[in-house]
């Protein structure tokens, strides 16, 4: 392990509405700002994703650029240009894939567009699956899983059945997430505050379909057993994937939470949103571990590999005996009286 790189690495990268990337280091409690161009709303970074090779981040700007940023060197390395308001960009094997809101997907190899295909009309989210496929969904666009080489959908979900009044349920997918290890299960959060879980092997309709909160679910991440949701009000919650029941909420956020990230190894959840704060919660104890004021409204978060909690210091404090202060005082008073 190259310790020099690890030490210099920030814990978290955040994308802001004004086009700046902020790196936050928990130990020194400092954050550094990196801008591609000037601080301008047209440079708004919509999402970030980590690349599979090396320390690069793909920053998708709202207009028509995807910037590749090297976190080790702290410079912008590459750039992909694509028409239309963009949704996301990530890499699969040696290809780079960029998706726009029209549903256009460009497949890039060696910085050149090799293939183009269309995924839907109003794509709101696009995510990489564990099987090296693309999952997409949007407004009146069902969840579909696309194979990159064949450019065909291997799985398309079906809408839930009509309700008791025989009205069709509208479809508006606002967030998609894959699980950590199971490539067949997808979690989806909708505009109509529904959380759905689809299993590719079982059926086309959702396996779990529950209502959570009162506002659209803007962000989702999932672990193997749990998934974490956030909505437009600032509720960040945790669901159990087996039952679909909600377990707990992570309190603190006041405005809409637009970005959630789970640390790959440790139980920490970062949330970021319109109230200009970055919050890091411990997933089990629900404790607010870190809170940073970052001045801008934020769109997305990403954790790096850096370790958050150092084991040694904690153990020392745990091993100290707890002394009950109140009891001591009472005992002293008793002694005085009885003298």
């Amino acid at each position: 392990i190259n310790f020099s790189i690890l030490k210099a690495m920030a814990n978290v990268w955040v994308a802001t509405e004004l086009g700046s990337l902020r790196a936050v280091d928990f130990k020194t409690q400092k954050n550094t700002v990196v801008t591609y161009d000037e601080l301008d709303k047209k440079n708004e970074i919509v999402s970030i994703s980590r690349s599979t090779k090396g320390n690069e981040l793909y920053c998708t700007l709202a207009m028509n650029l995807i910037n590749v940023f090297d976190t080790a060197e702290n410079i912008y390395v590459n750039q992909y240009e694509m028409e239309g308001p963009l949704v996301d960009g990530f890499d699969i094997d040696d290809a780079f894939i960029s998706c726009s809101k029209n549903g256009q997907i460009y497949v890039w190899r060696d910085d050149e567009v090799c293939e183009k295909f269309k995924v839907g009309e109003n794509t709101e989210c696009c995510v990489k699956s564990l099987n090296k496929e693309i999952i997409s969904g949007g407004r009146e666009c069902e969840l579909s899983v696309w194979d990159v080489e064949n450019q065909k959908a291997t799985f398309t979900s079906k809408n839930v059945p009509r309700d008791t009044l025989d009205i069709r349920m509208p479809v508006w997918i606002q967030s998609i997430s894959t699980l950590k290890s199971d490539p067949n299960i997808f979690c989806v959060g909708t505009h109509y505050h529904q959380f759905r879980m689809y299993d590719k092997r079982v059926k086309r309709r959702p396996v779990v379909d529950i209502e959570w909160g009162e506002l659209p679910i803007f962000s989702l991440t999932a672990d193997d057993k749990h998934c974490y949701l956030s909505n437009g009000k600032g509720d960040v919650g945790r669901l159990d994937l087996r039952t679909g029941g909600s377990i707990c909420k992570y309190r603190g956020a006041v405005g809409s939470v637009r970005g959630l990230a789970l640390h790959s190894a440790e139980p920490y959840l970062a949330s970021v949103g319109l109230d200009r704060y970055l919050r890091v919660h411990h997933t089990e104890t629900r404790e607010l571990v870190h809170k940073f004021y970052l001045k801008n409204r934020m769109n997305a978060v990403v954790f790096t590999e850096a370790v958050i909690k150092e084991e040694e210091e904690e153990d020392v404090w745990k091993n100290l005996e707890e002394v009950n202060v109140k009891r001591r005082k009472l005992e002293a008073m008793w002694e005085l009286q009885n003298d």
């Binding site: 004004l18 000037e38 601080l39 301008d40 709303k41 505009h191 009162e214 506002l215 659209p216 803007f218 437009g232 009000k233 600032g234 309190r251 603190g252 006041v254 405005g255 809409s256 637009r258 319109l274 109230d275 200009r276 004021y293 001045k295 801008n296 409204r297 008073m333 005085l336 009286q337």
Partner: protein, 342 residues
Amino acid sequence: SSGINAEYGYFIQTNLSTSMSENNDSKVPSIDSGPSISTAVNYHKLDIQNRKCKVVKRQMFTKMKAEKNKAKKKRKKADEEMRKALGDAAPPKPVPHTTESLRPADETAVDPDDEEVLKDAEQDEFSKYFNRDVEPKILITTNKRSSLETRKLLDELVNVIPNSEYVKRGKVDMKDLVKQSVDHSYTDILVINEDMKKPNSIILCHLPEGPTATFRLTSVKLKKQLKRHGNATSHRPEVILNNFSTRLGHSVGRFLGSLFHYDPEFRGRNVVTFHNQRDFIFFRRHRYVFKNEKRVGLQELGPRLTLKLRRLQKGTFDTTGGEYEWYYNHKQMDVSRRSFFL
């Protein structure tokens, strides 16, 4: 049981009548000599609270108060003499605590030179107003089927805000109202909602995509309820925004300021003040006169309102599908009496 009590440090004297001499309890009063108080110098608050006899209790309390006042006067005199003696070398007078002075420093407080805040302000939803590209044009309505009190407030608000119009609400839903206002090129909508036939809240929606702020409206006093009020002219007022220190406060202050035209008519000597204190925004309207360099005369005109921000939503009015920038959640926010958000 006489002697110095180690806990409280005062001297207890037992006084018992002969008939009750077996019980060595100092709290039992004698029958013959009426209620008696021990000649203690400092009463502890708990002693007074625990005393059952109300007459004795009252006496103990007045004594305690008298002692306290005496001690305070002594301290003050000593302090005065010290200041006289030392003159300029005396230590500075201690400033009394207030809720505002005990407020913890807010990390979101806006530094006026901060580049990021300036850039954000340059490109936010009100930038067109502050760049003088767009003149504000406000639509004022009420909820459906408003009552008399709300309509009275309405009339006054239409006079306060220049370039504003009253339109009857009718049967229009909020979202349709927003759509229609955008078509008619309004820049803001102000909706007064009521509860139990009294105006209760204000929804301010900036158009075309601007934020929507919901305020709780209290302490409404119309012009005629004010003593020695003045009658306003139609001159465009100047706007004063006080104490909007945090980032959220900065946004709200800009919002409220952008309702009024950016070119006030100074000839009219009209001022509209939005004064923020402890998260309550006080709205006042005055006419001023400079009597000389140091003294100003003020005459209050028009309505008095108190607003409290409830929610700030990004985008136009959409409670089912919108994103909130700030939502008043009292479980999370009413935790400390000292911290405020604007």
